[in-house]
Subunit: 427 residues, 2 copies
Amino acid sequence: MNSSLNDKASRQVPGVRLGTARAGIKRADRDDLLVIEATEGSACAAVFTRNAFCAAPVIVAREHLLALSQGLGPAGFAERSDVASGEPETARPRWLLVNSGNANAGTGSRGLEDARFTCRTLAEQVGGHPEQVLPFSTGIIGEYLPVNKIAAALPDALEALDEEGWEKAACAIMTTDTRPKLATRTLEIGGQRITLIGIAKGSGMIHPDMATMLAFIATDARIEPASLQDCLADAVDRTFNCITVDGDTSTNDACVLIASGVSKAPELKRDSADFPVFAEALREVCGALAEAIVRDGEGATKLIRIVVEEARDPAEARAVAKTIAHSPLVKTAFFASDPNWGRILAAVGRAGCAGLAIDRVSIWLGEVLIVEHGGRAAGYTEAQGTEVMARDDILVRVALGRGTAVQTVLTCDLSYDYVRINAEYRT
Amino acid sequence: MNSSLNDKASRQVPGVRLGTARAGIKRADRDDLLVIEATEGSACAAVFTRNAFCAAPVIVAREHLLALSQGLGPAGFAERSDVASGEPETARPRWLLVNSGNANAGTGSRGLEDARFTCRTLAEQVGGHPEQVLPFSTGIIGEYLPVNKIAAALPDALEALDEEGWEKAACAIMTTDTRPKLATRTLEIGGQRITLIGIAKGSGMIHPDMATMLAFIATDARIEPASLQDCLADAVDRTFNCITVDGDTSTNDACVLIASGVSKAPELKRDSADFPVFAEALREVCGALAEAIVRDGEGATKLIRIVVEEARDPAEARAVAKTIAHSPLVKTAFFASDPNWGRILAAVGRAGCAGLAIDRVSIWLGEVLIVEHGGRAAGYTEAQGTEVMARDDILVRVALGRGTAVQTVLTCDLSYDYVRINAEYRT
């Protein structure tokens, strides 16, 4: 198990190649186009935003996955005439086409046409079917996608395809991110080494609901597709869905997991003895990427880990943790390194716990008990709180005294730079 | 109908006197203590925060109202031995004791004792019963109330009691407010002139739930108490409960309405012909105070009026309006005068409207149609949006295309100063 890219074996996922290029969508001086290619026969799982205004690429990606799952019909790959007999060949997604700088959201029917056009263009160049291409976009909402720039840069991205392209890929998908986000894990299954690598982007409009901003993860494990989808949905719910920067759920959230199956390890299914080992490694990769997104939250100077314990049920624990995490008063206090526990208390109080008994609530800042019985803890001194608040990573632990459910949510502070970044975003 | 204090008749509510003093709770250079005295027989209605961690004064005020409604018992005023016979005299609240600079919240059992102590102290000096005093506090959470300072300043406040004390009172209850908030209306009932005056404070931790930060309203109308309470609850729900600065519901919210009954106008009850006229005037006073709170929101540079129309039901309209109003991305765009309608669209999309059809949604900025059919409106130009965004008062109108319900919510933008004010609050 490791998280660096120092040895070659964990710098690549056999069967998965990545290529980037400069399309000049928003800025001319950086790569903003990414193609991820999975070898034939790879399995692919994906989850998308629940925002009702999901972006054109999200709609088109879902359409393509649906079409592939149903077989492509007369014109499609799955039933093409050169497949002799027996089981029809199942066409699977093989290319992810990603751009930063423009979200292709709020672009109406033209946005859908644009997303389909880019998929068709890529499919023609690689000899695949358009439905095998899943489009992803991130950046400004409400402007049309510059499809000609993308089409012009596509040959360069395909030319660059390389199993070692992960770091360049992580950079190409950045928008307001200040650093690339990459996580890797290796594990052994059936005596074979398996690698998992994931990249993500996200810094603002971060409050994922069923998926994060954009995350792409790949493994060379061979995994039965339905099990792969379950495993991804579970990992995302426990990681990306438990972070928030600003409470704004993006229109473009998507998380994709490719399993190339190139490894010689035995195929994994839901009931395989080794499945939990893979699932745990996937959760670790997702967790590392989710934490990296919060650490790089717009204007963030601190990571705040909010743990709510002793809740009646998981939903209550999550509601309380998110109410604290979304409070601008709590977030500005953290920015100021001010142990203003009254604001945390007020957030707990408005989180909607019916019949909450104040005098059973305790709050810790780091290891310091600051609130008990609804007020300042006996023996707590401001100096203790100030010491904890000066850290870059701060743990807030809230015990509700009502049950046994626990939930952790990660967030960041609210700084001048958050306002600056979002006030200047389009200028 | 007017809203100035220019003529003497609308500068005072007969039967209600106000007195302020310097207790030096947080700063030595300003009045921070307020006593409001209602003449004997006045009716009083009140609504309080729904935050589970309500502050000690809120708990004590509720206790006192309950005790008065049940008769005060052996030691109490209502059944004292000098009341001869017949209907027991109903003791009513007659004094509001208000301090700024300290919220007496998160102060546990000592906070309750402190609030009761200040009520007892006032009662002794005015010859009333402690239950007739309702306490209110606003300011920092989690520090004990300096009760000796308050007790020491009380005689000055009582000495200062004056029917023309409204403007000084509005100043004495300010915390991070930059200006006092006062609204007045006059009306005629049964040929008699009736006056309504209200004051409010509030700038941060503003997302009232059943009441606002602190608002005190008085009238010389004679109104049956149960009808007065209904009337206040309705007005608050339509005004204070429809504003938000930062989404944080205070622990100390309270709104009180006193009807001195000194006017010669006939008593009003729920079914009086003139009751709607009074109710409308009360809504106007509450609405004016609520708007003043948002205009003075911490760091606010703009007032944003969000109108959601064509919703399935009022709850849906309110949910969508509040989701837009709470979005830090929307709020920073307004601060930057950036017509970034994509952020509004994304907020609508995550507001939880089941089955929302994107292509039926329209959005106007001021009078300019900016979004239709899920994308940029035909003919909309950035210059039109920029012109509207440069205004101090901005109307955002969203039509969901699902029904007929409408809701308006007021909010303000999110600026550097919001961060500064809340990062520096305790330093």
